[in-house]
């Protein structure tokens, strides 16, 4: 290796960008060449000096605030209220009756949805119980998320999120095709000690909703809608642990999206 080659590759070596083969060649050259050895030493010294925290600048708080204000608010802005004029007042009445109509309709929707949800919780627990009978639990057995996820290709019209939570204390054991509400859904199976957790993934029917936990016949069911998925986790572990499972899953999915 000539000095010309080495003087370029020395930087890649110092920056950790060189493969092992080239790295040992450059190092061998630098051992026998005082000029390149000095260059490598100085490059490393300068890189170390430039890594000093004092050279990394902090954005001023005023700039952060300006950018924050210029982006759309995370929550919908509340409309500012003007003093009501007579006309405005009349409109107000009209709006009022419209509102109460909508409110009543909303109530019906709410009651119906509540009903539907209870039925879903019942369905989820039934599916969970079915999965524990005989050899029904797992169709594809793997602790590798990259094996489990593709298995659903062609079996479902959605690609369920499959995350490995082994490091967080919930071992991924496999996946299964199941049915909820008469529709095929994915079930991702996790274990916590000897307890089984079935995570059902279906297409969400409503808007995104925060996570909630419900109990039925001694089973806990955790529910969350996120990014168009309706997620239901059923298990006989206690509510705290299932909530923990939900939190870990939520964090992993938010991190991935």
């Amino acid at each position: 290796m000539t000095c010309d080659d080495a003087s370029l590759l020395l930087h890649a070596l110092a920056d950790g960008e060189l493969d092992a083969g080239h790295a040992s060649e450059v190092e061998a050259h630098a051992k026998g060449c005082a000029r390149c050895a000095a260059l490598l030493r100085d490059t490393r010294a300068m890189s170390a000096a430039l890594a000093a925290p004092a050279l990394r600048l902090k954005a001023p708080a005023s700039l952060r605030a300006r950018i924050d204000a210029a982006l759309p608010a995370p929550r919908r802005a509340v409309a500012t209220r003007a003093a009501p004029s007579r006309r405005g007042l009349l409109q107000g009445f009209a709006m009022g009756s419209l509102m109460s109509g909508a409110l009543a309709a909303g109530l019906v929707v709410f009651v119906m949805r509540r009903d539907e949800e209870e039925r879903m919780v019942g369905d989820v627990v039934s599916a969970h119980l079915r999965s524990l009978q005989g050899d029904r639990l797992i169709d594809v057995q793997s602790s590798d998320q990259h094996t489990v996820k593709p298995w659903f290709n062609g079996r479902l019209d959605l690609a369920p999120p499959v995350v490995d939570l082994t490091a967080q204390g919930f071992t991924l054991v496999g996946g299964r095709l199941d049915y909820l509400d008469g529709k095929p859904v994915a079930s991702i199976v996790y274990k916590r000690r000897l307890h089984v957790i079935n995570l059902f993934v279906a297409q969400a029917t409503g808007p995104d909703r925060g996570p909630a936990i419900e109990q039925l016949q001694g089973f806990n069911v955790w529910h969350w809608t996120h990014a168009g998925f309706g997620l239901w986790a059923a298990s006989d572990i206690n509510a705290e642990e299932l909530r923990e499972f939900g939190d870990k899953l939520e964090a992993a999915l938010r991190g991935a999206s």
């Binding site: 960008e17 100085d42 000096a49 890594a51």
Partner: protein, 191 residues
């Protein structure tokens, strides 16, 4: 439905904040070294973030930092083109790679003498003396801690060009560093 698109918009803003705001210090740091003026840097970074948000749907995933920095460079370039001041070419133009090098590895370079430690102000002054593309390469690598591939993405040049720029930038810096050691402190000189 209006509510649906509102929700989508809010979701998009939330995802953008979560991905891009943690890089604010890095983007600001680059802006300060490129523009060497705090007010200009503030404006450029704000414009960069607004532009990035508008084009967030076009972001293809992966590390977001190089993408933001590419946008910042474009903002700086456009701003300097608008002003068409004397610093335009100097601060943002890409030097052709066949340009005659402004440096020579000094023949009598002391091989046994270790570089002296310098304080942050001195190092900043030394960096400020480097021509734009070289200053940019060394800041992206050693201060922003980007990989060669990420620098190539941010500056829209091949990795080979990143490597040659970095080698040249460090040679210039090294020479200036040594020179400054034999002189009184940089800040002291101007008084």
């Amino acid at each position: 439905m209006a509510q649906g698109s509102d929700g989508e918009d809010a979701d998009r803003a939330r995802r953008f904040r979560a991905a891009a705001l943690p890089c604010l210090d890095d983007v600001y740091t680059l802006a300060r070294y490129l523009l060497r003026n705090p007010t200009d840097a503030d404006d450029a970074v704000q414009e960069c973030y607004l532009r990035a948000f508008r084009h967030f749907d076009g972001f293809r995933g992966g590390p977001i930092k190089p993408w933001l920095m590419a946008i910042l460079r474009n903002v700086c370039r456009a701003e300097f083109a608008r002003r068409s001041g004397a610093t335009a070419a100097e601060a943002t133009a890409d030097l052709p790679d066949n340009v005659v090098p402004l440096w020579q590895e000094p023949e009598g370079s002391p091989e046994t003498e270790v570089l002296r430690q310098r304080d942050a102000d001195t190092i900043q002054a030394l960096l400020a003396e480097l021509p734009g593309p070289f200053r940019e390469a060394i800041v992206l690598r050693d201060i922003n801690d980007l990989s060669y591939r990420e620098i190539a993405e941010a500056t829209d040049v091949p990795v080979g060009t990143v490597m040659s720029r970095l080698a040249r930038a460090r040679s210039m810096l090294r020479e200036a560093w040594r020179k400054s050691e034999s002189e009184p402190r940089l800040e002291g000189r101007s008084q």
